[in-house]
Symmetry: C2
Subunit: 476 residues, 2 copies
């Protein structure tokens, strides 16, 4: 029997102004985790959530995480842990979100003040954090409130874990999750994370896979200090010359990784998988729009989705230590550090991949016959994640999507990584579902970040509906 | 008959504390031309020179240069034009120097406060601007004062041109020099610039050649904005991938420029030239010390000096628009601008060189088959300069060096450019001599910049002695 949701849905509609106001209040707090000077605002945001949750009747704890490793005098913002409901006859669902945001300045090119939520004539709600991830976080709170005001019994026990360092590496979170796996999170039956996006703008999706990310540094050094190219040009072997030559051997223009041993680790495409891609709501036009150009590697949807989801990619991000400002400076940098990363997929192994990368980079450098010195190392590594989309957690979410949006969701993977997904899966041993609220054009880390009003309001309904379906979904 | 200089020399020695104090006062003014916030200090430095020159009886004008092109609300610092002596029977010598300095912060790694002149136990005078170029500028003033106090007739009419924007592209100076060529500078018989360094630390030199510098940007763009490598990695052609591949084709580890047409323009080595290098006071040890490593291209002095002075070199300086900070950021930069420069030598032509560079870079990019777009252009160009070291201006300076230092100077060229040299030569039509005061280890643009006390005091004698010899040197 389908859950009775009409009362709840109506209440969400009736409270929509109130919910938008709550998001305005949250967006107005510039909780930028990467900026030490904004740390008080990040903490203020935690207290805002604490106050809202408490007023809704949730039990709330702010968990201190100690000092920030790279700034030992700076306290990490607390993790907001909350529980709503303690009914042993109900399932317990753990949800995760983050209340910190990316930096934003009007002068970056925003059309509006980034920390003032503005609803424009197209019902886009513009503001830093609107879609990433304050909208989804408040979605859970709003769902609770709408149940209360509609007089509808809340279908599950809800555990909430909202962190304030997601945009700066989730410092301290993994340890907390592992430590609480058998304590605060002990009752968890399934996990739901709302912190990603639809593949396009029209059709909801459920996400069951993520690529991993190994991030590498290639450090080449020679002279004792930066040199003037007038004085030393032509007489010294320049680290920057060596570095661009090494970086130039990693990948070609069409994304083909040149490092032996990478492609060999990739799981073969199965015949069942082949047929999956055609049905996905995704067009090259959407990609071109998101890209802001037509400079794609592939011209067709299937190759593009496979390249994003199930094949590794290598991107060169930049160079530390070289001249990077506008203008002209005639420096010979003494030490330069090239940065690149590889997005990893099943069945790649982190250690094997590292070995292949180190070996190849060293070989390429050796070919140059340079007197400079080379170091190559992984800055960080993170595994890929794939869940079973046939799990009852996903089945429930799919029914909720169909109920709210009137369409069966696409089952998608993502090219990026959300490392906490894997941590939750490993620590709790439970299925993790990614249930996005926003759409592909929200511009999470960009200027003019937005969440469409429709995605927010229907998204609140979706989160609530998901809890109803997951409460009753048979465990196969 | 050799000039009578003993009285002047003794007076310089007697006034040495006074001259060091004058340098202390100058160093204490942080006249950093690249920092708009320090502009009042740059102007203060101009007024300091005006006051000192006026008290010595010179006629002084501060010439306004209008606004700074890249900061239209900011006044350029004035050029200090001064004349000492109006005796039609004497030669008129035009000297140039600059009173602005490079930035410096103690936290950059200085052992002492950069804007406090400190004389250490090895008689090194540490401080920003000590050697570049406040020491040499004050050298001219000190020479005037020592003549006055010794009661020795000043041998020439001295025209002085001291600018305050040398470390930021000498904005506005070329126009002033050309405008004044037939006015303020009209009487000039020869030009002397003291703004470079000995090749080593033991033997003075006279410098008769400079390399030019063409500075290029290679701009590769694709996406409409920076992208997340998780989302777009593997599906978009990345400008950074293309750029490192193009930059990697420009030059090899041993400095060999790969662009056809560059080496072909270089003037052949003459047999007379071959023999010049052996006598030069320069050792690979000095180079290794200055370099802070042994990562040189050549193992012998002659090849090294030729590479610095008479062959072109190509240095890759950096990339604008890519990730350049410490740490890890998984960005796909939308537009990246590689910066490189070519040091040019006789008989390279600017326009031809530009053509060869543009053609080659476009060819290399075309090979990639990329959908991204390429622009390649010169940010600035500046010609090489070579004067005749047999000119009476150089002959006089050589005699002065031998008189003061007891050794015949090396005749050297430099790998860097001092663009004003060429401007003075072209505008006045007169011979230009580079007569350095400091030595190779002074660290002009580095931390712990210094001028040895001996180089300062003997340098004041040298500037004065040069004026005596150049006053009487027969014009061949």
């Amino acid at each position: 029997m389908a859950p009775q949701l009409d009362g709840f849905f109506k209440q969400v509609d009736d409270l929509s102004s109130h919910f938008i106001k709550r998001l305005s209040q949250a967006v107005a707090i510039p909780s930028i985790s990467s900026d030490a000077a904004r740390r008080p605002d990040v903490v203020r945001m935690a207290h805002f959530l604490e106050k809202e949750l408490t007023s809704l009747g949730a039990e709330v704890e702010l968990r201190a995480l100690g000092k920030q490793p790279d700034q030992p005098t700076l306290d990490l913002p607390p993790v907001v842990l909350a529980r709503y409901g303690r009914d042993a006859s109900k399932r317990t669902i753990l949800v995760y979100g983050h209340y910190d945001v990316q930096p934003a300045e009007k002068s970056d090119g925003w059309n509006t003040e980034p920390f003032t939520l503005v609803v424009d004539e197209q019902d886009r709600m513009l503001g830093r954090g609107s879609t990433d991830d304050k909208g989804p976080v408040l979605g859970w709170l709003n769902a609770i409130e709408a149940h209360q005001k509609a007089g509808v019994d809340f279908p599950v026990n809800l555990l909430m874990c909202f962190e304030g360092m997601e945009e700066y590496g989730s410092e301290g979170l993994d340890d907390l999750i592992r430590a609480e796996a058998k304590k605060f999170f002990a009752d968890t039956d399934a996990v739901c994370i709302s912190d990603n996006y639809w593949l396009g703008t029209e059709k909801p999706c459920l996400t069951y896979g993520l690529r991993g990310c190994n991030y590498y540094s290639v450090e080449i050094a020679g002279p004792g200090q930066d040199l003037h190219s007038g004085v030393f040009g032509g007489t010294a072997q320049e680290p920057m010359t060596d570095l661009v030559r090494v970086l130039g051997t990693l990948v070609d223009t069409d994304g083909k990784i040149q490092i032996p041993g990478i492609a060999e680790q990739v799981a073969p495409v199965t015949t069942g998988e082949e047929s999956l891609y055609d049905g996905i709501a995704f067009t090259m036009d959407t990609l071109h729009e998101a890209l802001g150009s037509k400079t794609t590697i592939f011209e067709d949807k299937k190759s593009t989705l496979m390249a994003r989801w199930r094949y590794p990619s290598l991107s060169v991000h930049g160079i530390e230590g070289a001249f990077s400002a506008p203008g002209a400076k005639t420096v010979i940098p003494a030490k330069v550090i090239g940065k690149f990363s590889i997005r990893t997929v099943p069945d790649m192994e982190i250690d094997k991949t590292n070995e292949f990368v180190y070996k190849y980079v060293k070989e390429q450098f050796a070919k140059l016959g340079s007197k400079n010195t080379l170091k190559v190392y992984a800055q960080h590594t993170g595994n890929w994640w794939v869940a079973s989309p046939k799990h009852w957690n996903f089945e429930a979410a799919a029914k909720a999507v169909e109920r709210v949006w009137g369409v069966a969701p696409d089952f998608t993977r993502e090219g990026g990584s959300i490392p906490v997904t894997l941590t939750f899966e490993q620590a709790t041993g439970k299925n993790v579902l990614l249930l996005p609220m926003g759409s592909a054009t929200d511009g999470a880390h960009s200027i003019n970040e937005k969440l469409d009003k429709k995605n927010y309001i229907e998204g609140i309904k979706l989160l609530g509906a998901y809890l109803h379906y997951v409460a009753v979904e048979p465990q196969l």
